[in-house]
């Protein structure tokens, strides 16, 4: 190999390192957390600019033909550290777009527009970063002490880039393989449900934006140190598309996939086209075809293999049996009542007090007259329609309270307001003596008031075990700080959670499905998983939205029996259901709603005797 070939190879290795770091950051945001950040390139650009203006001398140097901020001539590695920090900070304003309850595609478009806007601003406002001309004559790291064109320097540069890439890999792995990573993936799969289970979506999205932003910023710093120049032309939205194509093709959500994607697309694909002589076809033909090819690859991969070449791995937790491949067993026999199953589950493992017992808050049964949940004149309007009007109910501790009514009565709306997933127009929600009307859903979940959803809400790309574990409250590993501290920090909590989950799986008869993806379960199994998951949150009060819908009647009865057991242990449950037979058998009292108001409360027998109730069902 000649020295020129060596330099070319080193160039490619450096670019590979840079693209790997960038793709890992993007995969963290897009693949793991489900934040489609079309503005990603801005972070890399911010990092590159920061490294440049920190390492450049004052802008009157070199003849003063450039105009930029800073210019402090700082030595390596300060500019690179600054690049990573600024890349992370730049992410913060972006959270305005992703933090709101925006549809994924709207948020993505917003981020894309932000990227375009920043490019225009930087291009047109010259004093900031020298406008369209960009920054040149950026000092290479340690160029005073070493000759940047020397082979030894180039080797060292490539080595550092690759070491940093390896470091980035380990960092994102550590975050993703932690309970926090699990929460991120849960948010990706179904953010509404994650919110209702106590996950602070805004904080989670912010953390991946900042982490990914820092990585992108670092990659920008490395790049600018190598090419010694940086201009708006180098970071348009074309570059973002290439990185997205890399992550999609390599495998979104899988960090090895991100590495592979980085090597295949920005490095491999773009380099391969350099070997086609540029005189092939009219000028620019090859380059145009390259873009067409990238577009085709993206569409083809999303159609045939959306999980990418190296897909996200299934996480198998602990030593278990081989996962079952027969997902369609609808009739599952549940274990008997609680006591027997608890005994069975303790065989062989030291079980700490890990039952799905209700949260041991000093249940203020005395305060509030035994009502765990109370509403005062609760109302919800949708543009003139009174979905719920003047509802004042009380739910008492230890009861399995039913909520029935014809279609459109406002049951789901009421449930949503109780849980915090739907905002209140007027009135109050008092939980355990405390006014929670203004609290968002995830905060109520953390207080022990949790809901389930009518439509399928399992986390499709998490296994059943992971679905359960994702709901655990106060897990030491369920925060960025905890994740970064590593396994040692959260191992205890994780093991305790796993033990509890196994008890539940045993009790609800799904132990052999622990490692099946949520998306592969049958309807009845999904319901059970949702119930188990919500029990993992150690709730004091459950709000169940049609938990028996679409479930085999025998299984429904078994679920009902389990719910009664839980109530006997002190939990409070409010359950919306259509099946009046279920209400008959399990629920006492039952609240009946029609047209947004409460018609009557009492046992089913009482209600059946009331004329207005019968009428409402026949007419409404």
């Amino acid at each position: 190999m000649t020295s020129a070939q060596l330099y070319y190879l080193l160039n490619l290795l450096i670019y590979a390192g840079i693209d790997i770091i960038a793709c890992l950051g993007l995969s963290q945001q897009f693949g793991v957390a489900g934040v489609t950040n079309f503005g990603f390139i801005i972070f890399q650009a911010a990092g590159a600019y920061t490294a440049a203006i920190l390492s450049l001398p004052n802008d009157s140097a070199n003849g003063g033909f450039q105009s930029y901020l800073a210019g402090w001539n700082l030595p390596f590695p300060v500019p690179w550290i600054g690049a990573a920090i600024v890349g992370g900070l730049v992410a913060l304003p972006f959270t305005f777009v992703v933090g709101r309850r925006l549809r994924g595609d709207f948020a993505a478009v917003g981020l894309l527009v932000t990227a375009v806007m920043f490019n225009l601003l930087v291009t047109n406002y010259r004093p900031f970063l020298n406008g369209a001309a960009g920054l040149s004559l950026v000092p290479a790291p340690l160029q005073g002490e070493y000759d940047p064109s020397g082979a030894g320097y180039q080797w060292a540069y490539a080595a550092i880039a690759l070491v940093l890439a390896a470091g980035a890999y380990l960092l994102v792995r550590r975050v993703t393989e932690s309970p926090y990573g699990r929460s991120l993936r849960a948010m990706r799969d179904n953010d509404l449900v994650a919110d209702s289970l106590g996950k602070n979506l805004l904080a989670q999205r912010t953390s991946v934006l900042v982490l990914g932003g820092a990585l992108a910023g670092l990659s920008g710093g490395i790049l600018v140190g190598y090419i010694t120049t940086w201009a708006p032309g180098a970071w348009g939205y074309a570059e973002t598309i290439v990185l997205f194509a890399a992550v999609i093709i390599g495998g979104a959500g899988s960090h090895r996939g991100a590495v592979l994607g980085a090597i295949l697309v920005p490095v491999g694909f773009e380099e391969a086209t350099r070997y086609i002589p540029s005189t092939f076809g009219p000028p620019g033909f090859v380059d145009d075809l390259q873009w067409v090819a990238i577009g085709l690859l993206v569409v083809i991969f999303l159609w045939f293999r959306p999980q990418g070449v190296l897909p996200e791995r299934r996480r198998i937790i602990g030593a278990t049996a081989v996962p079952s491949n027969t997902p369609n067993e609808d009739v599952v026999s549940l274990a008997g009542p609680l006591h027997a199953s608890r005994g069975a589950a303790t065989a062989g493992s030291a079980l700490p007090a890990a039952d799905p017992a209700p949260r041991a808050t000093a249940s203020p049964a005395a305060a509030d007259g035994g009502a765990v949940l109370r509403t005062v004149d609760l109302a919800r309007d949708f543009g003139g329609v009174h979905a719920v009007a003047g509802v004042s109910i009380e739910v008492h501790r230890g009861t399995l309270t039913g909520l029935i009514g014809p279609n459109g009565a406002g049951k789901s709306t009421l449930l949503g307001m109780l849980a915090g997933t739907i905002p209140v127009t007027s009135g109050q929600v008092i939980y355990q003596g405390r006014d929670v009307t203004g609290l968002p859903a995830y905060r109520r979940a953390r207080l022990g008031l949790v809901r389930t959803f009518q439509l399928a809400s399992e986390f499709k790309r998490l296994t059943v075990m992971e679905n359960l574990l994702s709901a655990v409250p106060s897990h030491r590993g369920d925060s960025l700080a905890g994740a970064l501290r590593g396994r040692r920090c959260w191992r205890r909590d994780e093991e305790a959670a796993i033990a509890r989950a196994r008890v539940l799986l045993e009790r609800f008869g799904l132990s052999s499905y622990a490692d099946t993806y949520g998306g592969d379960l049958s309807g009845g199994q999904r319901r059970l998983t949702e119930i188990m998951r919500v029990l993992m949150t150690e709730p004091a009060m459950l709000l169940l939205d049609e938990p028996m819908a679409g479930v085999h009647p025998r299984l429904a009865r078994q679920i009902g029996a389990q719910l009664l057991d839980l109530c006997a242990e002190g939990m409070t449950i409010l359950m919306v259901e259509h099946e009046l037979a279920i209400m008959d058998e399990f629920c006492d009292p039952v609240i009946m709603m029609a047209e947004g108001t409460v018609l009557a409360t009492g046992t089913m027998t009482d209600l059946r005797a009331r004329a207005e109730v019968v009428e409402a069902y026949l007419v409404g």
């Binding site: 478009v109 917003g110 527009v113 225009l120 873009w291 067409v292 999303l302």
Partner: protein, 289 residues
Amino acid sequence: MSLFLASFGFGLVTAAVLAIAAVGFTMQFAVTDVLNLAFGAVMIASAFVAYALNQAGVNVWIGLLAAAAAGAAGSVLLNQGIYTPFQRRGSAPITMVIVSLGMTLIIEFGLQAIVGGTNVSYTMSQGPTVRAGGLVLTAVQFVIIGLAIVVMAAVHGLLRYTKLGKAMRATSANRSLARNCGIRTGRIVTVTWAITGALCGIAGTVFAINNGSFGATSADLFLVVILAAVFLGGPGSAYGAMLGAVIIGLATEISAAYITPSYKDVIAFAILLIMMVLRPGGLLGAAVS
């Protein structure tokens, strides 16, 4: 004052082009729930169809009709061939956006591979410059404004007074319910894409006429301005798109006159972002909190 009036006039022209495009875009979203980011690509491809005819000696206004037809055909093909299969599979909205970006690359750079990278212009006369009060517009620009008004009226008439329009509105409000009411939603969707595709073709051609000089990637930035108009008015609302187009068109040109023109498009983008963060339903949509 004359500066204000002049920029007001320019704003009307921009709003006219934007309105035709934004209404098409938003109706595609309304009826299929897809943010078709390949809209700009189809626009410019249709403009080139008109250019090809123009080079062969055909008057550009007749070429406009051909562009409309090309836009209609291309859009229907895009929806039937690409978007519908993905949707049938249950792809998430974000997947659809990425697919539409991929299609943008394929269409635009495929086009550029054919027509080359240099910019072209239509062979046409811009007509006399009319000075009315402080407004300074050419005859062609007046025609464009007139064309936009006609198109808006036609869309309004379609939506409000025809059976097809009602069916379109029903389908966008609630597709399964519409189907249960006997509306052939599949066909409505196809027809909607054909109509909006025609709007796309017309918009592309007037865009190219208004610019004087255009190339395969000219519509890239314009797409973002379309998005601004659509989101300002409320995605899915045709009247919202019209309103948004007028506001954005006027705001960008007037601000360019009084602040610096370099940031003209930045104003549009800032409006888009603020709307998205504060009121994603748009001005005419529900305030979703």
